[in-house]
Subunit: 299 residues, 2 copies
């Protein structure tokens, strides 16, 4: 038996998992890092998994996500790429607790720790990727984790060899709420015509800075009465996600989208528009990674 | 004698100009469209130019800028490209007033009124461009008007034949204040090293969506201790302006930057980094356009 925890900035998700990786029970709360500060981590974890711990005193608790960041419970230093599951399992950090027994934090993965490429970092997504590999029975692929800061992760021969984060969701919210576009933001999601037009606009770009021009084109098209306010949110989303897909999947034929949210659906549509096959992977597969790490540690 | 007025969203600037285009007197206030609403335009103009009007009752008042927009005093419909000074002079809109005499508004210029390119619009910048042409004794060139929404205007044989607006300044403020980058924004402008690194990062991009990734690279470089908070504002500015320059000046050898603000200085540096010669044009040259329009109307 294993207790797997995905502990991020805004949410804590915990799973009771059997030795074969089956999720037996789950719980979720808003006890993310934004709400839980120093001294509050063990009580928050105890509140989430206390009954499971009492019933299974020897089950290891394996946690991934921002709980291992500098602002988290205990910092788990990043593992450098290429990073396979053995390297990650070897770098887990044990967390001393008063009464919760065996608790470890899975490290994040980083590129550019040394060297001259741009740095990039992940925490928690590595567990979802290794879980997805386990669920799919694969040891390679291009994996997408949609979100405020979406991750595109390349896996080769069982190791994360590279990845890129795109600040797309964060940028969308800032542009929607705090630029001139906010004055023309409709509230009716409409029929999706705006999103398709945004994807078209993304396809028509060539230089990196073209994006800064197409954002104003949204405003000008509206002034000319050629873009309805209700189509503006979709257009902006299509433009940004389309630009992201064109940048990140330029050489890909297929990509695995982790999760089945509305946002994941938009990535499916954008990938299709750029001729890339999109395959959905269930989002709870991080527990499969937690189970594999527990097994690796038990060896 | 002529009274030229540059009336925008946030400011009203007025100039008393001799027949040969010399600025004799000037005044400026915060009576922009944000502060002046319906019914308030004539009193605001009278407050700004009343003494000049009393001394020169026959001087035409020529206004350009957002005062001619739908939210302004009287809407002056856009002139389509290609637009030369005669076309613009022929399309000025007379404004009826109770006691201010001959008052006209210069129309803006638009592309994409019909047709399938993206729409783009300007109001006020056309006067600055025609004024700059007059000041320089030229009838062609690539002109840049830095600002919240910067404009790149192509002039051929005395006519505006095309232009592109980049939402760069607006985007900068939204990203700086309302994304994860806001948490690492230093306040000391430093030695400009951040701006130079941002330009370098812009030069290294190839696909339009790369920008969404490089924004997160700012965050990751900071986490790795390789980018100081005080260099983040400069880096973000260099990244965005560099991307804009690479998009807008790809085929240019020289460009005329209108105005001598700090922001204009950054465009000079960015143009230099991309191998484009930058020439400064004084920002008060719009009055030269106002004077030429007054002369064209008097013919």
């Amino acid at each position: 038996m294993l207790i797997g925890v995905d502990w991020g900035t805004s949410r804590l998700r915990a799973y009771l998992v059997s030795d074969d990786g089956t999720v037996i029970d789950r719980t979720e709360s808003e006890a993310g890092l934004m709400r839980v500060g120093e001294g509050g981590f063990e009580p928050a974890l105890a509140a989430a998994v206390g009954p499971w711990r009492a019933a299974h005193p020897d089950a290891p608790i394996v946690m991934s996500g921002m709980v291992g960041s500098r602002q988290g419970w205990v910092e788990a230093p990043y593992v450098a790429t290429p990073a396979d599951l053995d390297a990650i399992a070897a770098a887990v950090i044990a967390v001393p607790t008063d009464g919760l027994g065996d608790v470890v934090i899975v490290p994040g993965v980083a590129i550019g720790i040394a060297g001259d490429t741009f740095a990039d970092v992940m925490r928690g997504e590595e567990a979802e990727v290794f879980g997805a590999l386990d669920a799919l029975g694969r040891d390679d692929g291009l994996f997408i984790l949609p979100g405020t800061h979406s991750k595109w992760v390349t896996v080769e021969a069982g190791a994360i060899t590279g990845f890129h984060t795109y600040m797309t969701g964060d940028v969308y919210a800032a542009l929607a709420g705090h630029t001139i576009l906010s004055k023309m933001f409709g509230t009716d999601p409409g029929d999706g015509a705006g999103f398709a037009r945004g994807l078209d606009a993304a396809r028509g770009m060539s230089a990196p800075g073209d994006l800064l021009n197409r954002l104003f084109a949204i405003r000008a098209e509206g002034l000319m009465g050629r873009l309805a306010d209700d189509d503006v949110p979709g257009f902006l989303s299509g433009l940004l996600i389309g630009a992201e897909v064109a940048s990140a999947a330029a050489d890909a034929r297929e990509a695995f989208v982790i999760g089945a949210s509305d946002l994941a659906g938009r990535y499916h549509d954008a990938l299709a528009a750029f001729g890339v096959a999109a395959i959905t992977v269930p989002s709870e597969s991080a527990t499969r990674c937690h189970a594999r790490i527990a097994r690796a540690r038990a060896r």
